[in-house]
């Protein structure tokens, strides 16, 4: 079973994502910000990270940078999931190493499609 780490400061978003991901047969873990996500990754590396951009304590971008510096192997797939929906943000995310990008709001089909694109389902 593949694991997905859901990183979002909104409990509601995490709950919605968890619900959808579990029906897609993924094991779900949660983190409320980038720092918690980093701790979770050091403990055990998930297959994919669903990553919000704007969060308190540590942003999604800072998390990505820290993850790279920590040289965590095997590198998890990164799917940004954010309300930032401008081309500049998307480009910056790809340059920082994101594999996919979801513009919120998302629904089940969006999540399913993006997870297919990164080979998780």
């Amino acid at each position: 079973m593949k694991t997905c780490l859901v990183v979002d400061d909104s409990k509601v978003i995490r709950k919605v994502a968890r619900h959808i991901l579990e029906t897609l047969d993924l094991e779900v873990r949660e983190a409320g910000d980038g720092r918690e996500a980093l701790e979770a990754c050091l403990e055990s590396v998930p297959d994919v990270v669903l990553l919000d951009w704007n969060m308190p304590v540590m942003s999604g971008m800072d998390f990505l940078r820290a993850l790279r510096e920590a040289r965590i192997e095997p590198r998890p797939r990164i799917v940004f999931c954010t309300t930032e929906n401008g081309m500049a943000h998307i480009r910056a995310a790809i340059d920082a190493g994101a594999d996919e990008y979801i513009m919120k709001p998302f629904d089940r089909e969006t999540l399913e499609s993006k997870l297919q694109l990164v080979g998780m389902i």
């Binding site: 401008g86 998307i90 990008y101 629904d107």
Partner: protein
């Protein structure tokens, strides 16, 4: 989305209770759809007829399906029947639908390229354009990588409304997040306000969109190396389906390839095509002079 041209999933909108319709009214609508497109309103879909027609009824200030049917029949509004058909056809599609199909397309076209001829592809029932655009993206990127030519792509549909959207190359945020890898979005689209995403003209220009009814119109000429007719004939009655296969065959070059939707087959449906020995869900036209040309 199950149907219609809306891109917001229907579940996101609370549908008002649809008005009741008489069996006769439903029969008229079913006959209209079948006459215009060859499609039958399948029982499990018929419950939605009133829901998909509701926006049009509102626009025309009609309260019941019976009133709508009378308005179609009295001929006072010649465009109404076409609008009803547009609303009733299932236009569901997405970018890179069944992704492995696009590998088959590239492989098939690669063999045509070896002859030195520019390949031609026909996307039948192209709906709002995601299928031909996905093909164009695959070949445009291949062109950038290895310099191979981009095939000529002709895309047709019976629905003017779907074609209008395809030609505009404008998609919602939901639509560009179905099957489309983010790198393709960055490369081939421009973002606008209101979460609208517009296809770059240099991609769109590879596709010629044309209105065409597969069961009654002659096909585009010129001979195609590959025809995609995916999820179009699913609800066709037997007789229009026969005609459709003939039209497809007559538009193809000898031993041209045909790709159907994931759940579709030619087996037991027509003797104009057979499974390509190479497999991968590709069908080939059976060569010979027996294939009739449509009038």
């Amino acid at each position: 989305m199950a149907s219609g041209l809306r891109s917001v999933p229907p579940k996101a909108i609370a549908p008002p209770a649809p008005p009741m319709a008489s069996i006769q009214a439903l029969n008229v609508l079913a006959a209209l759809l079948e006459a215009r497109t060859g499609q039958q309103i399948v029982r499990h879909r018929s419950t939605r007829v009133d829901t998909v027609l509701l926006p049009l009824m509102r626009e025309r200030r009609l309260e019941t399906l019976d009133q709508l049917v009378i308005a179609i029949l009295d001929g006072s509004d010649p465009s109404l029947a076409g609008r009803v058909v547009d609303a009733l056809v299932n236009c569901e599609t997405s970018f890179f639908r069944d992704p492995h199909v696009f590998d088959t397309i590239v492989e098939t076209i690669a063999t045509v390229e070896k002859t030195g001829r520019r390949a031609r592809i026909w996307s039948v029932g192209c709906s709002t354009g995601q299928e031909p655009l996905s093909i164009a993206m695959a070949f445009a990127e291949r062109h950038e990588r290895i310099g191979t030519p981009i095939p000529e792509i002709v895309a047709t549909d019976v629905s003017e409304a779907a074609l209008a959207r395809a030609r505009a190359g404008s998609y919602t945020q939901f639509e560009v997040q179905r099957g489309l890898p983010i790198r393709h979005l960055v490369r081939w689209f421009e973002g606008r306000a209101d979460n609208e995403w517009i296809v770059r003209p240099e991609l769109l220009r590879h596709i010629a969109f044309r209105q065409m009814n597969l069961v009654s119109d002659p096909p585009p000429g010129g001979g195609f190396d590959l025809v995609l007719c995916r999820n179009v004939m699913l609800y066709f009655a037997a007789e229009p389906k026969q005609r459709a296969f003939q039209t497809l065959a007559s538009a193809m070059r000898p031993s041209g390839g045909l790709i159907l939707g994931a759940g579709e087959t030619v087996i037991g449906q027509t003797d104009l095509f057979r499974l390509n020995p190479g497999g991968r869900g590709l069908y080939e036209k059976i060569d010979g002079d027996t294939v009739p040309r449509p009038a």
